[in-house]
């Protein structure tokens, strides 16, 4: 069930998060993300500009893909649980691409009353190429 509460005790190293599929990416989403984020770099809006810059055409904001990766985590942990989200942009996301975001539990640790879960997170395109790779740390509640 989406947004079900996850408890620290129930999580095991190696567990996979439910995948999140986003897209196909459309120009209107890049325009909307530009307005929402304040990143108006024309390389994400103007195909001629992007070609002249040697990029072969428009591509998505890295931060849009990072937002998708954030969502695969928060759909599972809840939005307020994220303590760290760290990514490398490994490949360009193009118009019409479909992006699947995934995560896997790497480690669990507890310090006093804080229970942390480290995740490997990534996003891949429809060809299975990783376009974003990274890590996340979330704080989860214990069962009473």
């Amino acid at each position: 069930m989406k947004y079900a509460r996850v408890y620290f005790d129930d999580v095991k190293v190696g567990d996979e998060l439910p995948p999140l599929v986003k897209g196909p990416i459309q120009q209107i989403q890049l325009t909307r993300y530009a307005g929402a984020s304040g990143d108006f770099n024309p390389i994400h809006q103007d195909d001629e500009f992007a070609k002249a810059a040697g990029m072969g055409g428009v591509f998505a904001h890295g931060m849009l893909s990072m937002g998708f990766v954030g969502q695969v985590v928060t759909d599972w942990s809840g939005p307020a649980a994220v303590r760290k989200l760290s990514v490398r942009f490994a490949g360009l996301v193009r118009l019409k691409d479909t992006i699947t975001c995934r995560g896997r539990v790497l480690a669990k640790s507890s310090k006093d009353v804080t229970h942390l879960v480290d995740l490997e997170v990534w996003a891949e395109n429809q060809k299975g190429e990783r376009v974003v790779t990274g890590k996340a740390t979330v704080v989860l509640p214990p069962r009473e």
């Binding site: 986003k22 307005g35 931060m63 760290s86 990514v87 490398r88």
Partner: protein, 150 residues
């Protein structure tokens, strides 16, 4: 002829800037991601939560901009917007942020270094922004690596 990057910017701190989180901006940002989580979008769900209000998505602090000419930094670096790519990004978040909160952001350039990759010579510009709240507590560090195609 590759361009020359000005490494003199290493250690440079930008003037601090203040941001206030707007309720509508959180929702606009979540919707732009296509994320319909009710803890971002539904005020009643937010009020009933342990946070007492809606919260911002983890990457929301990317909207914290100083309003100054972002081209000025690129010019000082010796480049322009057509040559830059986003290399890496990190948010270290100590607590969720909510509408109406005001924060002070302080940015500095941590490092500038060059490497040659598959697509030729590139410069990497690492920056960090600290975000502090009204009680001067650190709420987050935002770390960012910009890649400049030389």
């Amino acid at each position: 002829m590759p361009i020359q990057i000005n490494k003199g910017v290493i250690g440079k701190e930008s003037p601090p800037f203040v941001v206030t989180v707007e309720r509508g901006k959180i929702k606009e940002f979540a919707r732009a991601l296509g994320d319909d989580n009710p803890l971002y979008l539904d005020d009643q769900v937010g009020q009933a939560s342990e946070w007492g209000d809606v919260v911002a998505p983890p990457t929301f602090m990317t909207t914290f901009r100083d309003g100054a000419d972002s081209g000025a930094f690129l010019r000082e670096l010796g480049t322009d917007i057509s040559r830059i790519l986003h290399g890496e990004q990190e948010f270290e978040i100590f607590r969720p942020i909510r509408p109406g909160e005001t924060f002070v952001c302080r940015s500095k350039v941590l490092d500038v270094y060059e490497k040659t990759g598959r697509s030729g010579p590139m410069a990497f510009v690492a920056r960090e922004t600290s975000v502090t709240d009204a009680t001067n507590e650190i709420v987050a560090f935002v770390r960012h690596i910009t890649v400049v195609r030389l």
